[in-house]
């Protein structure tokens, strides 16, 4: 589904990703772990199409197509979803209006009929239960005045409604208390299907107690220095990133 080959990228003349290789197949859950400044969020931003990053080398294929050539909205319509580390507050844009517009853009792209207000409402009400969201949630402006936990839940709620093929979760666990973390993780697990994939980007292992990855990658200084099973995450948790730093010379 996703093939990242020798990706070199940076921002404002600074090199951040220095040759990332990563392949994700349908049905898989991958975790990318790494310390601050390793390039985790840059990787997420480049996959989603945020402006301001220069890709200097390498390529990213999404279902065989050059992902980097696509506008952010095209990627979303093709099934790429980024759960933001810092979801943006948009006062004045109603949540229902926003999400219905997004869903219908994606449906249009797939050649499906647009949902009317009633159909949309019954769909979202069902999805809201998964994330334990309050009813008045849809009447509020997008993320405006939401707590950190509400914002993160909203991201996963949007993911539930939009049903992406490739979901990238950028530090979704940061700022969540344990209950919210469980709710979010359960939501993510319920959305897992044989034909979609998830890329979990995280600093800490704790989210991986609830979302069990098939593969764990360690990103360090712009490169994936190790890949392994879930045990790698546990080992990292125990020994800390210093352990990787010391063994950095050893190829993954």
């Amino acid at each position: 589904m996703l093939e990242i080959r020798n990706l070199h990228a940076g921002v404002e003349g600074r090199d951040i990703l220095k040759g990332v290789d990563l392949t994700i197949n349908a049905g898989e859950v991958h975790a990318v772990m790494g310390p601050n400044g390793s390039g985790k969020s840059t990787l997420a931003a480049i996959l989603a199409g945020r402006e301001g990053y220069d890709v200097r080398q390498g390529e990213v294929l999404y279902n065989g197509v050059d992902l980097l050539e696509m506008d952010p909205e095209e990627r979303a319509r093709e099934g790429v979803f980024l759960a933001f580390q810092y979801p943006v507050e948009i006062p004045g844009v109603n949540s229902t209006y926003f999400l219905k517009a997004a869903l219908n853009e994606i449906r249009k792209h797939k050649g499906l009929p647009e949902l009317d207000a009633m159909e949309f409402l019954s769909l979202v009400k069902e999805k809201m239960k998964i994330l334990e969201l309050r009813e008045d949630f849809l009447k509020r402006p997008v993320n405006a005045g939401f707590s950190g936990g509400e914002k993160k839940r909203n991201e996963i709620f949007q993911m539930a409604v939009l049903e992406p093929k490739l979901a990238i979760l950028d530090e979704t666990d940061s700022g969540l208390d344990i209950d919210a973390l469980k709710t979010v993780a359960e939501g993510v697990n319920r959305l897992k299907k044989p034909d979609n994939a998830q890329l979990i980007i995280t600093h800490y292992q704790r989210l991986l107690n609830y979302i069990v990855p098939d593969v764990v990658h360690v990103l360090f200084d712009g490169r994936i220095v190790r890949s392994g099973t879930r045990e790698l995450a546990l080992e990292l948790e125990e020994k800390g990133y210093d352990w990787i730093v010391k063994h950095e010379a050893v190829p993954a």
Binding site: E73, F84, V88, V93, A101, E105, P141
Partner: protein, 451 residues
């Protein structure tokens, strides 16, 4: 501060107004108190003339084009050549007073049956009677020394609205004042004067719209005085949608009584140059006062909002929210002064002014000012000038929404923040539509410029 010594060119510009006054006043045959009031207005105007950009309060707004207009008071209403129903709020079920070029048009007006004691009329009709209530209030709130345009209006007004809601009475349907200009003659001027008295515990929704049937370089100089009693709940909504060549100056003076709830909205979409002076005096405890406004400008329009919120009593809340969407070479000006008197402890005063520039040539001048003499208060202000937030655009695009749609959604939402504060639902819906339509007409809203 306004100067007291007139420069020679200011003198010359004020001259025609001064010269014509005596005859105007003599022909009117009015009671002595009113003649006296007018004379004081004229004296004040003669003393200070038109402001210049050397006056701090007019630094960003040059009214020289108004001063240079020929002196053309509109002595009788022009013919209405367009259907009135094309104007906003004309489909609204309400009491409506229509003024053509500042003159009352009874045949075009509708006054719904009102509860006992409620009086909604044109001001001239009330002045023709023995009117102690008008005598008591007219010119006592918006005083001639407030600014030069109030002085000029006081000298020259011929009509406007009079709304009196006695204690405890509720005016169910909104009251709409339509001020329509029909004159294409350069400099033709009208000075509508409105007095609103909402006594203790009363309720009122007042809509004021200033529109034009022609493209004309006319001048509107409106003054509205509000006297709001204890526990009264009043909503005021003003739409300034004058001809794109016109000049519009308006002053609203609000005297707010204890525990009243007052909200005033100002929407400025028209006129080449407009200035809205809003003076609020919070003269009792536990007042809730909101001033809310939106200006949309394009070409070389200038829209200026100037306000003073004076907290003269403890435990009051005031909030000003003004957003501007500025295109082409246009200019938005915001000047918000919060004045907290020493007695006004536990004041909670907030002010925000946000400006969205759709073109590189548009400008916004914003001047927040806090003047606080009490020590136990909460006062905040914030101002922003900028383009659409890139993070917001990306967030929307990352959900599948196209760039143009994302931009439109954000611009609409910027306006929507203000529109959403209108409490009267049909008015809110209509203004939402007006603003939406104006934004849709704008090629820069749908296009890719600016980001």
């Amino acid at each position: 501060m306004e100067t007291t010594t007139l420069a020679p060119e200011q003198m010359k510009e004020a001259d025609p107004f001064i010269a014509a006054f005596e005859r105007f006043d003599q022909e009117r045959n009015e009671p002595a108190w009113l003649t006296g009031l007018r004379k004081r207005g004229m004296e004040r105007f003669a003393e200070i003339g038109f402001p210049t950009i050397r006056d701090e309060d007019w630094r960003f707004t040059n009214v020289a084009p108004i001063a240079k207009l020929p002196f053309q008071p509109v002595t009788e209403p022009g013919a209405v050549t367009v259907p009135l129903k094309q104007f906003n709020f004309m489909q609204l079920e309400c009491t409506r007073l229509v003024f053509i070029d500042g003159h009352y048009a009874p045949k075009l007006s509708t006054i719904l049956p009102q509860p006992k004691g409620v009086r909604i009329s044109n001001l001239a009709a009330v002045l023709a009677e023995d009117a102690p209530l008008v005598q008591k209030h007219l010119g006592q709130h918006a005083r001639v020394d407030q600014n030069t345009f109030v002085a000029l209006n006081t000298a020259y007004f011929t009509d406007g609205a009079f709304v009196h809601v006695p204690a405890g009475q509720i005016v169910e349907k909104p009251v709409h004042l339509l001020f329509l200009s029909t004159s294409q003659e350069r400099g033709s001027a009208s000075h509508p004067r409105t007095l609103v008295i909402a006594e203790r515990g009363s309720r009122l929704t007042l809509i004021e719209s200033h529109v034009s049937a022609v493209q004309g370089e006319y001048f509107t100089n409106a003054v509205t005085e509000f006297v709001i009693g204890e526990h009264a709940v009043v909503e005021h909504c003003k739409l300034q949608d004058e001809s794109p060549q016109a000049y519009h100056i308006a002053t609203q003076q609000m005297d707010l009584g204890k525990a009243c709830n007052f909200i005033s909205h100002s929407f400025a979409t028209g006129a080449k140059l407009s200035r809205n002076n809003i003076y609020t005096h919070l003269g009792g405890e536990h007042i809730e006062c909101v001033l809310n406004g939106l200006y949309l400008t394009k070409d070389d329009q200038l829209a200026d909002h100037y306000m003073i919120v004076e907290h003269a009593s403890p435990h009051c809340n005031s909030h000003e929210y003004f957003n501007g969407i500025l295109d082409d070479r246009s200019k938005g000006v915001f000047h918000g002064r919060i004045l907290v008197r020493q007695i006004a402890q536990k004041t909670d005063a907030k002010q925000t002014n946000k400006n969205l520039l759709l073109s590189d040539n548009a400008t916004a001048d914003t001047k927040p000012q806090l003047e606080i003499y009490a020590d136990d208060v909460k006062c905040t202000h914030g101002a922003t000038i900028g383009q659409l937030n890139k993070d917001s655009i990306f967030y929307l695009r990352a959900r599948g929404i196209g760039l143009e749609t994302a931009r439109q959604m954000l611009i609409h939402s910027f306006a929507g923040e203000i529109i959403d504060r209108i409490r009267c639902e049909p008015v809110r819906e209509e203004l939402d539509q007006v603003i939406w339509d104006r934004l849709e007409e704008n090629p820069h809203v749908g296009g890719s410029a600016g980001v």
